[in-house]
């Protein structure tokens, strides 16, 4: 599929990583990819905590939640 935003080196990297995962035990690749997955969640929760402390933050969080309700 043509992707106008990402050039072919992006898919090459996806493939390179997939070959690495296939060739190594889970303990090796999970140690690299696990923190990336955790970081996204930890950073998002920290962001929401910061937003909640700002003026109007709770209202913005409510609006974001409404967006998620409609996203199904």
């Amino acid at each position: 599929m043509k992707n106008s935003f990402r050039d072919k080196t992006h898919m090459e990297q996806v493939e390179r990583w997939a070959h690495f995962v296939k060739a190594h035990p889970r303990a090796v690749w999970k140690k690299q990819v696990g923190p990336l997955i955790d970081a996204q969640i930890i950073m998002a929760e920290k962001f929401y905590a910061r937003l909640a402390k700002q003026q109007g933050g709770e209202e913005k969080i409510k609006q974001l939640k409404e967006l998620r309700k409609r996203a199904v």
Partner: protein
């Protein structure tokens, strides 16, 4: 290894590395290091633990499958996600209410509503998905929906655990995930997920099964 044992191990190792000199470290630092060390023993991510806790409740009530993005992520795909997609067998309002109550007891909450009757009538019965999060959290979310057609039922019927992932979940087959991502979903992220799975399972992937599912996708959805 328990957290306490990890703290002890770290403390002992610190003393060893410093030739017996007592290093001034805050308790927070000890605990942080112990968590990092525990992580090496148990390599579950936050996403893995969230999914584990959720399906342990669901499987007491009905059959389920995890599909789409988390299948690729559990196979090592290096990308983030906000949600995990789960399909469960259709159930009655009464049975869903029991499941919902059980999820609430296990500290999950539904974003759409607290009322199981409303969730059932306005969403699940209409083949719309609903989202559960841990109480007080925003992400990750579990996007739950009922099996809506023959293909979903077939996915549940042919569900399997995948030892490669190191998890104990039931997933829809790799062939199913590749077919959906290449034939229906088709976003750049989905195409990359499919490519990743194709490489991981390059020696066992059943192309005939993928083509059969793609034909069924065309018939049902396109």
């Amino acid at each position: 290894m328990t957290l306490v044992a990890n703290i002890r191990t770290f403390y002992t190792e610190t003393r060893l590395y410093t030739h017996g000199r007592l290093v001034t470290q805050s308790l927070g630092c000890y605990i942080h290091m112990a968590v990092l060390m525990a992580r090496e023993v148990n390599d579950r991510t936050i996403l893995d633990r969230f999914a584990e806790d959720f399906v342990r409740v669901v499987e007491k009530h009905t059959k389920y499958i995890i599909v789409s993005g988390f299948v690729a992520i559990a196979h090592g795909r290096s990308r983030g996600t906000e949600d995990i997609d789960i399909i469960v067998e259709r159930m009655s309002k009464e049975d869903f209410t029991k499941l919902h109550r059980d999820l609430e007891i296990s500290e999950f909450e539904c974003i759409q509503s607290k009322n199981p009757e409303l969730i059932f009538e306005d969403y699940l019965k209409q083949n719309l998905s609903v989202r559960y999060v841990r109480k007080g959290s925003h992400i990750p979310e579990m996007e739950l929906k009922f099996a809506k057609d023959a293909l979903d039922e077939y996915q549940i019927k042919t569900r399997k655990k995948m030892p490669f992932t190191g998890t104990d979940f039931y997933f829809s087959s790799i062939e199913m995930n590749v077919a959906f991502k290449e034939e229906l979903l088709k976003s750049p992220k989905d195409i990359e997920d499919a490519r990743h799975l194709r490489i991981i399972y390059s020696d066992t992937l059943d192309e005939n099964e993928i083509n059969k599912i793609k034909k069924e996708i065309k018939r049902l959805y396109l």
